[in-house]
Subunit: 487 residues, 2 copies
């Protein structure tokens, strides 16, 4: 043994395969050079010497020497021993030490990042779903076989990888579904495919709003939209509702963007009647405001057929229509879409490229087939029947478990209902108590932008069967009783 390096670096290795040995030797030498243990100008042993030092083959050593030379740690000249190059000494941190913790915590971030950090909407459905998490479809009732076949066929397609961000076949299939079932008016190229409705809302907000612009949102309303609007730096104002939705009378401001849920107001479940729709469109046209119509779960309409989308009666081209597949299909199908004005299609397509947001080609192909074959419409029809039954079941179960303490107007559609609490109640406290007994509910008060005017429980009924609904409702009844006694 030459032991030329002994005392400088550790020469003992756990015997492993050649690749790993080379890697260990490389790491040791590299660390020794960076730490200064092997200083600039230091002449390493010959490869024969190194092979002896490390007890490995000369082949392994040669690989390491080549690598170190390529990366500039050593200089190799034919027939001479390698020399350590001019490398600055530096202390390497180990994997479990975060470098310079303090400093990176205070890295200067952009105004946008600060804006994002200031507002949040906590109610994503994460972890194991529990009754009555809103917005969840029932995966047990989903036609996994049919959908799986669409996905497998799409994955085998040689074309999947080359598919654009907005695949023409998906655009066409989805548009004819939306024209038939939601009454939208558009041509297929105005459809932009996104990775969720939230992504669509965020892109639209960013396309329309500058810092300081005024944006309106329903209050109570959808918090996900609020944070997307706020992230642009816009001034976001919550507009109170009356029975017809956004209360427009007496409003003299000129918002740049109005976010609303006319088919099925989130979270109250109310339908915006035609008169208010016309007023809203006229107001927006007059103010030069764009409208985001979030049509999130309007596929499911229990009494009569689904209400026609606001977009379908817009004649000024101001309405951005937003929808999603995660609610009518499965929560993990991360695909949403927007219908945007003709003149902005190219801008949106460019943004999709710039922001690297493209839904997998295979997913787009599979959705096009699922819709085109009629499986999507059939699934919606079937789930509409099931969800209607669950809405009724939950309404009755809550009535018998909590009586007059909860005021419910059964919604005409969708996947959730709102149970209002008596004035003076604290829905956040109640929701926290419910969480302890395994029931998920969202507090109505948290849906307001600005001051909360009402308290209540926002409850999803779609994903739960009769037994689960009854058991959950009973827990709600008991918790309300305890909660009231505790006051």
């Amino acid at each position: 043994m030459s032991n030329l390096l002994s005392g400088t670096i550790d020469l003992k290795f756990v015997p492993q395969d050649g690749g790993r040995l080379a890697r260990q030797i490389y790491d040791r030498l590299r660390t020794a050079i960076l730490s200064g243990a092997l200083p600039r100008g230091y002449r390493l042993p010959s490869s024969r010497g190194l092979a002896e030092d490390f007890g490995v083959s000369r082949n392994t050593v040669s690989t390491v020497i080549d690598q170190l030379a390529v990366e500039g740690y050593i200089v190799v000249a034919r027939g001479r021993r390698p020399v350590v190059a001019a490398v600055e000494k530096m202390q390497l941190v180990s994997a479990d030490q975060s470098p310079d913790h303090e400093r990176s915590g205070f890295m200067r971030v952009s105004r946008w990042a600060r804006q994002v950090s200031r507002s949040d909407w906590h109610f994503a459905n994460e972890g194991s779903p529990r009754p009555f998490a809103p917005g969840l479809a029932d995966a047990r009732e989903f036609p996994h076989e049919v959908w799986g076949r669409c996905l497998r066929r799409a994955a085998r397609s040689r074309h999947a990888a080359g598919i654009k961000a907005n695949h023409p076949a998906l655009r066409a299939a989805l548009l004819s579904h939306l024209v038939e079932h939601r009454g939208v008016k558009a041509d297929a190229r105005r459809l932009i495919i996104t990775s969720s409705a939230q992504a669509a809302i965020e892109l639209i907000s960013r396309v329309l709003l500058n810092e300081g612009d005024l944006a309106w949102i329903e209050s109570p309303g959808y918090g996900g939209a609020r944070v997307a609007l706020e992230a642009t730096g816009a001034r976001v104002r919550g507009i109170p509702l009356d029975r017809s939705g956004l209360r427009l009378a007496g409003r003299t401001e000129r918002p740049r963007l109005i976010f609303c849920t006319p088919s099925h107001q989130y979270p109250t479940g109310r339908l915006m009647p035609i008169k208010r729709r016309q007023e809203l469109l006229a107001f927006a046209a007059e103010a030069g405001a764009a409208i985001i119509e979030d049509d999130y779960d309007s596929e499911f309409h229990f009494d009569g057929r689904p209400v026609v989308a606001l977009q379908g009666i817009d004649t000024a081209g101001n309405v951005f229509y937003v929808g999603t597949f995660s609610k009518p299909m499965l929560p993990d199908i991360r695909v949403g879409y927007a219908i945007v004005p003709d003149g902005l299609v190219e801008t949106f397509e460019r943004m999709q490229r710039h922001t690297g947001q493209k839904v997998m080609g295979a997913m787009q192909l599979a959705l096009a087939e699922f819709i085109g074959d009629g499986d999507f419409a059939a699934h919606i029809r079937r789930m509409t029947r099931i969800y209607r039954g669950r809405r009724d079941r939950l309404t009755h179960a809550l009535a018998s478990a909590a009586g007059s303490r909860l005021a419910i107007t059964p919604p005409a559609g969708g996947m959730q209902l709102l149970a209002r609490l008596e004035p003076g109640s604290d829905d956040c406290r109640l929701v926290a108590d419910l969480a302890k007994v395994g029931v998920t509910a969202r507090p109505l008060s948290r849906h307001f932008t600005g001051k909360a005017a009402e308290h209540g429980l926002f409850l999803g009924f779609a994903a739960w069967n009769e037994t689960e609904i009854d058991a959950g409702a009973e827990l709600i009844g008991k918790t309300i009783a305890t909660n009231l006694r505790g006051r």
Copy 2:
């Protein structure tokens, strides 16, 4: 027949199922009300009368009347005939007319949207792949069986839907892969899972850059990063390269962000040696600049083992490390990732929620399994051998087909090579000519930010077998010859 409505609306229908009939009647009545043909206060026939008029059952008519009442088109009172409500007259556009084309084309957009519209990077791989499209993995050599099993198992998991944007199992598996193979230093919670490397670059740029900030990019460099930086409104400067990469000597500006590809410069394929890496890190620490290290295809290293990432020797916590699965696996696997500083993890997680960017839970589970089982590393090992052979094949084929007209330094790794053209050549014209004969190449000159200093062909060799490589190289040789004669 009562024919109360005749002359006002068309009463003839294509006989169809009850649902569609109801829909047609609803549409006719609604259109008649909106157009003013049935004016405010008009008393509709009784449901019996309507049923006769339309020749349908009273049941069908009742559904329609209920729907119109819910939406506010008519007012229904018990025992009386329905009355048309106070609705503004409006002209409905048909599906194939885009409303107010002109106006929507000029809808005022945000500064960001204008910025996005100003710059572009056209070289996405769309449509059927042809030799020598860069950045494409060979799908024919992919272990579809193993991956399909991972995906199916993940899709069946009851937990997929509830998985967070950065699934702990994927974070852990990916981190240990990156520590082992790329020499990064981090803890798993600093991994942010995105829908592509481009999405990661865009998010990081947005987190760090305000309008007017200075950002640096290698020139020639990766255009996708350039457009992401430009979209923030930053001043983007292209920094020339020398043999070691970014030429830092004499630079006195203090950029806020530096984008670079140290393991394998894009598009020249050069490795940044340790000395320049240290200079770059020292420069960035001194200037208060963050660094994006795009490690896009560095899994594949042909001579020795892959070069250790710049992130691994960063002691100041300034380096954002970016990678992707679309290159080592398949182009349609739309998953990228970034390692971000500890202090910004929460900001990034919030941004993922705000922008609705979450990779499907099932995809995250499947990747965690594919990596954890060693299939990812095994695939990379196998493809490294194959790609090395293809690099050599293309290098030799081009040498024999185009001789000295193309200057090639075979890259030490990756999926593409750069073939430089003689001074005075026009690579854009040559690329256009190649496209006509079915060969894809990207012009080197288009990779410069600012003035193009060189011309050449950027060619992907990874996705093509020997026959395809030989045929493509021959076409390149012929086209260059013709192209030269044509000058």
